[in-house]
């Protein structure tokens, strides 16, 4: 395969950057979730859990 270095650099860097960003988002979200009451995080509350 020609240009293997370029390919690895391009694909590798992009996957790496997006993965790091995703992990950081999840960590940030987890930290904030712990501090904010659950009723404010709407995506977690199914109708059954509401008002709990």
């Amino acid at each position: 395969m020609t240009h293997l270095g370029y390919l690895i650099a391009g694909w590798g860097l992009s996957s790496l950057v997006i993965s790091i960003y995703a992990v950081r988002l999840l960590k940030r979200g987890a930290r904030l979730s712990a501090r904010v009451p659950a009723q404010n995080a709407r995506w977690m509350s199914s109708p059954k859990q509401d008002g709990g």
Partner: protein, 253 residues
């Protein structure tokens, strides 16, 4: 009641898993199934083309599309904020703007990495799309910097929405002016249009776009939830500060 410990939900988990599987399939197709771009000169029979560097385009082009999509979402959400003035729209604009800036940076980097073997240069001043994308990237860096400069997310919302709308309105002008400006140099023909697009190439490109849209949606979804939580936390902080103050006042009386 279950206490949420992450910003994940059932929907976002499915979205995330689908993205990862899609990405794996994309790598398989882009690297091992599709052919390299090799063409033969009609007279001399000499080999030319992008060879394996073309495999970068299965990542670069979808990300460029996703970047523009994210900025369009950011602009729509900004307009939505200015009309509705609710925090939902502001969080959406913030999330889309940040994710768009990130993918925009990657578009520029992967484009540069692709340009080196194909155009024989890391940077081509004569290419309109390249220049416009760079300016777009700088614009949104400014947008994020403006957001970051405010302490309270509420106060940042209106200026940020206005900046995003002005930025998006300015994009066609930037594109136009760069195009006229660079016309004095030799115009680089669009390399993608001369690429022989076969069924498999097209399919891989389409899959790349789909996977990128999925990844972008996942990122925007989670970024939106983080912004939402930040807003909640800020309001909670203000509320508890007021409560505390009231408590002290009551004691003093």
């Amino acid at each position: 009641m279950t206490v949420p410990i992450t910003t994940a939900s059932k929907g976002s988990k499915i979205l995330g898993i689908t993205s990862i599987i899609g990405f794996a399939v994309l790598i398989l197709l882009a690297f091992f199934v599709t052919d390299p771009d090799i063409r033969f000169h009609p007279e001399t029979g000499e080999e030319f083309g992008q060879f394996d560097a073309v495999r970068l385009l299965y990542l670069h082009v979808p990300m460029a599309i996703v970047t523009y999509l994210a900025f369009v979402i950011c602009a729509i959400a900004s307009a939505g904020y200015l009309i509705k003035r609710t925090f939902w729209w502001d969080s959406m604009a913030h999330a889309a703007g940040e994710v768009g800036t990130l993918t925009c940076a990657l578009v520029l980097i992967t484009g540069s990495i692709w340009g080196r073997p194909v155009w024989n240069t890391w940077w081509e001043w004569g290419d309109v799309r390249l220049m416009s994308t760079l300016i777009l990237f700088l614009l949104f860096l400014g947008y994020l910097a403006l957001r970051g400069a405010f302490v309270s997310p509420q106060r940042a919302a209106r200026p940020a929405a206005i900046v995003a709308l002005i930025a998006v309105l300015d994009i066609p002008l930037i594109n136009r002016s760069v195009e006229w400006w660079e016309n004095r140099t030799l115009h680089q023909k669009s390399t993608l249009s001369e690429l022989k697009i076969e069924d498999l190439t097209l399919f891989t490109l389409m899959l790349g776009i789909l996977v990128s849209v999925l990844v972008m949606s996942w990122l925007i979804l989670h970024r939106f939830r983080v912004a939402w939580l930040e807003h909640m936390e800020f309001e909670q902080g203000v509320k508890s500060a007021i409560e505390e103050r009231r408590h002290i006042d009551n004691k003093e009386q």
